[in-house]
């Protein structure tokens, strides 16, 4: 009986090992694609940055916080269309299931860069740190497009 319990325990434990490793790798294999931001107009207004998050790992990944030396605060917000009215709200925690993909784009999810420390000038770029819960921090360089740009290629 004792043997059986030990065996069961060992099998479960063995099964868990690759699983846990996978989950950790999951947070470690988040790709941040096509980051871009719009040029700010002065420093007294919030600016917006956009990107795509891809979870190549096997576990759930949560975006815990965002930081950038150019902004006092950076948060993911969402533009919601209610009939003809456009409303903004904090997006809360962005969660990526295994293999999941979240696109931040104009009119939807966006990173609000608040309390700008410097103007974001078209043609320049700035670093953005994305901190994932129980995972690494991914740093990306965000190129700055025009103030009314609709995508990273403008």
């Amino acid at each position: 009986m004792r043997h059986l319990i030990v065996t069961v325990f060992a099998v479960v434990a063995l099964g868990l090992v690759p699983w846990t490793a996978d989950a950790q790798q999951g947070s470690g294999s988040v790709a941040v694609e096509q980051p871009w931001a719009r040029a700010s107009i002065g420093t007294t207004r919030p600016a917006a940055a956009y990107l795509t998050l891809v979870n190549n790992g096997g576990g759930i990944v949560r975006l815990a916080s965002i930081e950038s030396p150019v902004a006092g605060r950076a948060e993911v917000h969402r533009t919601v269309k209610q009939g003809e009215v456009m409303r903004m709200e904090p997006a809360g925690t962005i969660e990526l299931p295994a293999g999941g993909r979240v696109v931040l784009e104009p009119g939807g999810l966006h990173i609000m860069l608040m309390d700008l420390k410097q103007p974001l000038k078209k043609g320049e770029s700035f670093p953005l740190m994305l901190r994932f819960a129980d995972g690494p921090t991914v740093e990306v360089t965000v190129p700055i497009m025009g103030p009314g740009a609709r995508g990273p290629n403008q």
Binding site: R45, E84, V85, M86, P90, P106, H110, G148
Partner: protein
């Protein structure tokens, strides 16, 4: 026995919850469909007969240079009227960028058009701030602000709903309390209607573009309007 009762209660709750969710979802979808259909009718192939749709009208506002202006100061040109606020980081830059691209696509015909960006945030949007803002998108765009009453009047004429949302209540939705230190008290956002109105040279409603309309579509519709209703600005 008790367990059976409990099971029954859970079952009733589950079924009830699912039914409620279904009713809410269908209500939401019906409302979305209605909004889409209205937009389709209004932004379809035909323009409203000038003077037939009671949207827009006379206004007195202050432009981004600080001059008091009325709709007559832009007379003779088609108006593209968009409401927003210059602290708006996502929706307003997208639409102003689309309007700017549409103007570029129109080429010489853009002379028949006057784009107006009406601020729904007269408290923060002084003429100076608006000047800095609109110039970033296109030199043709005129920024308009005014007193809170003037803005309320023009927004009402254009049926442009807007609502100030304080940062405290904005974050309260998220964290369930207004005591979040990251939300400064004097900070606010404005929820607002995202349409761009195309008005005739006599400031009569012709059609409108909903948020996200491509610049190509806007330029095409403006060209069509010029072909149909003429270009008084060029005849002067």
């Amino acid at each position: 026995m008790n367990r059976r009762l409990l099971l029954r209660a859970v079952l009733i709750l589950l079924v009830g919850g699912a039914a409620l969710a279904a009713v809410l979802a269908s209500l939401y979808m019906a409302r979305e469909r209605e909004a889409r259909e209205t937009a389709q009718v209004l932004t379809g192939k035909t323009f409203a007969e000038p003077g037939q749709v009671p949207i827009g009208g006379p206004f007195t506002l202050v432009d981004h240079i600080g001059r008091t202006v009325t709709e007559k100061d832009f007379g003779g040109r088609y108006l593209l009227v968009f409401f927003g606020f210059s602290n708006c980081p996502d929706v307003c830059p997208t639409t102003l960028g689309d309007i700017a691209s549409a103007l570029d696509l129109l080429g010489a015909e853009a002379d028949a058009v006057q784009p107006l960006f009406v601020s729904l945030d007269p408290e923060r949007d002084t003429p100076e701030r608006l000047a800095e803002y609109v110039a970033a998108f296109h030199p043709k765009i005129v920024g308009l602000t005014g007193t809170a009453e003037q803005i309320a009047a023009v927004a009402k004429e254009y049926r442009a709903f807007y609502e100030k949302v304080s940062a405290a209540s904005y974050y309260a939705q998220e964290i369930g309390g207004a005591d979040d230190k990251s939300a400064p008290g004097d900070d606010y956002l404005i929820s607002h209607q995202g349409n761009t109105y195309l008005m005739s040279p006599k400031s009569e409603y012709l059609t409108h573009f909903t948020y996200g309309t491509k610049p190509e579509e806007m330029a095409k519709t403006v060209r069509k309007a010029i072909a149909k209703f003429g270009n008084p600005a060029a005849e002067k």
